[in-house]
Amino acid sequence: MSQQTRRDFLLHTLPTFAAGAGLIACGGGAGGAASDPTPPTPTDPVPPTPEGYKALVAIFLFGGNDAYNMILPASGSAYSDYAKARLDLALPQSRLLALGAADNGVPFAAHPAMSEFQSLYARGRATVLANVGPLVAPIADGQVRSASSLRPPRLFSHNDQSDQWQKASAAGLESVGWAGRAADLLAPTLSRQELPIGISYSGANLLQVGRSQVGFALGTGGAVEANFLRQNPALRPLYAEMLAAGQEHLFAREYASGQQRGLSYNALIASALAAAPASMVSFPGDRLGQQLAAVAKLISVRARLGVQRQIFFVSLGGFDTHSDQLARHEKLLRSLSQNLDAFYRATEALGLAGNVTTFTASDFGRSLSVNGDGTDHGWGSHQLIVGGAVRGGRFHGQMPDLVPGGSRDYTGGRFAPSTSVDEYGSTLLRWFGIPASEMAAVFPNIGRFGTPDLGFLS
């Protein structure tokens, strides 16, 4: 696209952020860590201090990840309980990759396909947040089966629960995503940032939709353009005019403004990526690897793009393992582990290990009970967080006893979370630069939970 036309698109379409405002103070955010009894002993060098750039990278595990076969008791009676409940799906104890003790003193391990994650954990660069999920309010152990008013609506339904994860609104107080709400707050302060804060390499998602800010989806193959415009440069001003012309129909109008954004942002990114340094890290060739490689590449041109805060959305699908779980899940977790490692190394190579935090989310956890060769929809689940700012090498949150009918079992081994998505998100955003005083604007229900900063980031 010619400079002239590109400027036309930019002039007509790019949002103008309030200039001159300073960046919200960031850093700090380690509140709540004082009670941490086991500080990590990382063997890697300490990551560089923040340079005024921070990124969050959400990896959404679509379908509902079976966290109980991802992070599981390593030995002893806790392993026996697990194996008894898991029947044919129980992973052999001898193949497990030891991590460390959870809050309840039980030693935990990772799935055998996750050696890279084990290494990140051992180096203090990764952690596990145990048993997190949508909650209306904290549910005490004894209340799990009785407190129907405290249960989020439409539990165990894929689309509803993944929406609740992305909105952090089990109480029904929000209709947009929590990363989008954070972008609403931050965007006016980012004077040099033309691109939206939310960038998706996995299509449209609710997480990045705010009230005024909306995420922008890119393709993993680099910036795109329309061949008919490249072949017929004279058509460019006419097409720009067509998209700018007032459309009578609301949908045609929205489609046209989407095309304008699509062309202008892709043109902006194309010119920035042209100067991207060659990647020093090779990623797995799978879908997640393509997405995370694209994230790393975009981060590498952050200065050219003038971006200061970015929230990325990538995904890995196929976690709805009602059947054939052992084979399917192993393949997925191997991809996840290898990609978490490759992406962490890419951020190290960029000198940004401490500025980029990667975290997982999923529709829901799965039932501890088994249906043959698979598992069904659950509620709480464990999540992984990786990055130089992570207080890693230890577990965060409270691990449930993996016993059917245990104190947090709602029914059939569907365990009620002990930590809310709201707390998980607010901890990530506190690090990202949302002041504690603004957190209730992002998570309106946060006041009902005790720990708006879970202390897994420093």
Partner: protein
């Protein structure tokens, strides 16, 4: 019988539509102008062609629908098998069969409805159990084609027993519970068959609005206990070719035959149905299945739930409650006391006054964003695209169009019926499902690909690449007004705005007419491109 029922529905619909307006020319009847015919065909087919526009204009919508209801179903499996030899892979053969039929089959109405059904009763080659089983996917698609005008209850049962669905929602090989070990039945099909295939999550009024309780809150249709009971009902089924219980299968042995029951692996204890009635212990797998599907079929939610699903796939993203209620009533009773007559339902949808005239009374929201695949199929049909080899090698459309036949990411389809595009659409409270997969970058990829296909010539195309035939435009291409009049009908149902017309004229003028075929072909190509990439072409009204 079929003709009688459809004809009854037709005359009822035409009478009610006629009563709604004086302008009967816009309704069923005959003497339709070609633009109105094209608009009708945009709803009812994979895209208007000149011949079909003329036919609708000549015989009217009623007779055209009757004709279509009576046409022999074009099945995909025979074409898939025939195309295997000419295709790089079995999956490519499946796509080639689908495109050949979408673009050329005479039973367009049936094929278009089957495609809509394939986005409600989803199975997908994105799933690891199905991505190397194109034969099963093709057989499943034929099941939808066969039942497109049949009875919903029959459709539901054939879907439930199809091996493709059994693999996709994992009730193939679903074993009875084992109380000793604690093994439970698989809940996947039990849940999604209710949430997505029949009744949905909330109790509905006949007009599709939610029923509210005394506190003003929506009422769930089922809870986990209901799912657990239906999961037990759907136990004991597996591959028809297996001689013993199990889930494994050698593909060479597989056929499209419905799943077979193994009574020893069926949970024969009593179960509670969604209406509270109790299935006695000791029933056969077949008896339990029949009772379960009957209980869903007779649920009061099915008529409005399926009516809305079909209307938003075929006509408009935001139907009025009255439109949904009219169609729900036809679902409940086709006029002859039959519930679930899909032929009557789709006929009523296409002839409803709102389907016919909604675009006049509401010019700003009525209609829908076209699905990417339909933007492509409409372009290819309008200009009768063909390849040298005769194979419709449109190929893998996932990257450029975010869609492929039976290729959604999950059972939730390519887009959700509840999706609202953030910004003005969501703020105004409207639904816009198709926006979900057409992100801004995808939008660029789509127009990029449409432009490339228009630019393809017999000289530049591969053997299997369909090439648009723009030859019919060359004669009129000297005169941009005549050219745009023609394309306005063929591509936009006569709705081209003055602004688009002005821009298209100036675009055509970029290539002056040199009096030769080459310059005129270029003018035609520019005109088709400019319209195909326009916001107006992206929206079905």
């Amino acid at each position: 019988m079929r003709r009688t029922v459809a004809a009854t529905t037709l005359s009822t619909a035409v009478a009610s539509a006629s009563a709604a307006t004086d302008n009967s020319k816009l309704l069923g009847g005959t003497l339709l102008d070609r633009g109105a015919s094209a608009r009708f065909l945009t709803q009812t087919t994979f895209g208007p062609t000149r011949a079909e526009i003329d036919r609708v204009a000549l015989i009217g919508r009623d007779l055209w629908l009757l004709e279509q209801l009576g046409k022999t179903a074009t099945l995909h499996l025979p074409r898939y098998q025939a195309l295997l030899a000419q295709s790089a892979s079995a999956t490519d053969a499946r796509y080639a069969a689908w495109w050949e039929i979408a673009l050329t089959a005479p039973d367009q109405l049936r094929q278009r409805v089957a495609f809509a059904l394939s986005e409600i009763f989803v199975v997908s080659d994105a799933d690891t159990a199905l991505n190397d089983r194109p034969m099963q996917l093709t057989a499943y698609y034929d099941l939808l084609v066969r039942n497109a005008f049949g009875n919903f209850r029959t459709l539901l049962e054939q879907i439930a027993l199809s091996p493709a669905m059994g693999l996709f929602l994992s009730h193939l090989g679903n074993d009875k519970p084992d109380p000793v070990s604690g093994r439970r039945p698989d809940e996947n099909f039990a849940r999604e068959a209710m949430q997505l295939f029949s009744i949905g999550l909330w109790q509905l009024n006949r007009d599709g609005s939610p029923i509210l309780d005394a506190k003003g809150e929506q009422i769930p249709t089922y809870d986990l206990a209901v799912i657990e009971n239906y999961a037990r009902i759907y136990t004991g089924w597996t591959w028809a070719h297996r001689t013993s219980w199990g889930r494994g299968s050698n593909q060479a042995d597989e056929t499209e035959a419905p799943m077979k029951a193994f009574p020893d692996h069926h949970d024969s204890d009593s179960k509670v149905l969604i209406d509270g009635s109790v299935l006695p212990a000791g029933q056969t797998p077949e008896q339990d299945l029949k009772a379960a599907l009957d209980s869903l079929f007779k649920h009061a939610n099915v008529p409005p739930f399926i009516a809305r699903q079909l209307i938003i796939k075929l006509i408009t993203s935001n139907p009025s409650p009255a439109f949904i209620e009219r169609i729900a009533r036809v679902f409940e009773n086709n006029g002859l006391g039959v519930r679930g007559d899909l032929g009557a339902v789709v006929t009523a949808i296409f002839l409803d006054p709102e389907a016919r005239l909604g675009f006049l009374s509401d010019q700003t929201v009525y209609g829908k964003l076209k699905e990417p695949l339909l933007r492509l199929s409409q372009l290819l049909r309008a200009f009768e695209a063909r390849s040298r080899s005769g194979v419709y090698g449109v190929g893998r459309t996932q990257a450029a169009y975010a869609q492929a036949p039976l290729g959604a990411n999950s059972v939730f389809n390519f887009f959700s019926p509840q999706f609202q595009q953030p910004g003005p659409i969501k703020n105004a409270g409207y639904y816009s499902p198709e926006f979900q997969l057409q992100t801004e970058t995808q939008g660029v990829l789509i127009v990029d690909n449409l432009g490339k296909r228009i630019a393809l010539t017999t000289a530049t195309a591969g053997d299997n690449d369909p090439v648009l035939d723009l030859g019919s435009l060359v004669a009129e291409a000297a005169d941009s007004a005549a050219l745009l009049d023609d394309l306005n009908v063929l591509m936009l149902g006569g709705s081209m705005s003055a602004s688009l017309r002005d821009i298209a004229s100036r675009a055509i003028a970029l290539m002056p007419d040199a009096g030769d075929e080459a310059s005129r072909m270029k003018r035609a190509q520019i005109a088709v491109t400019v319209i195909a990439v326009s916001p107006e072409y992206a929206v079905q009204r």
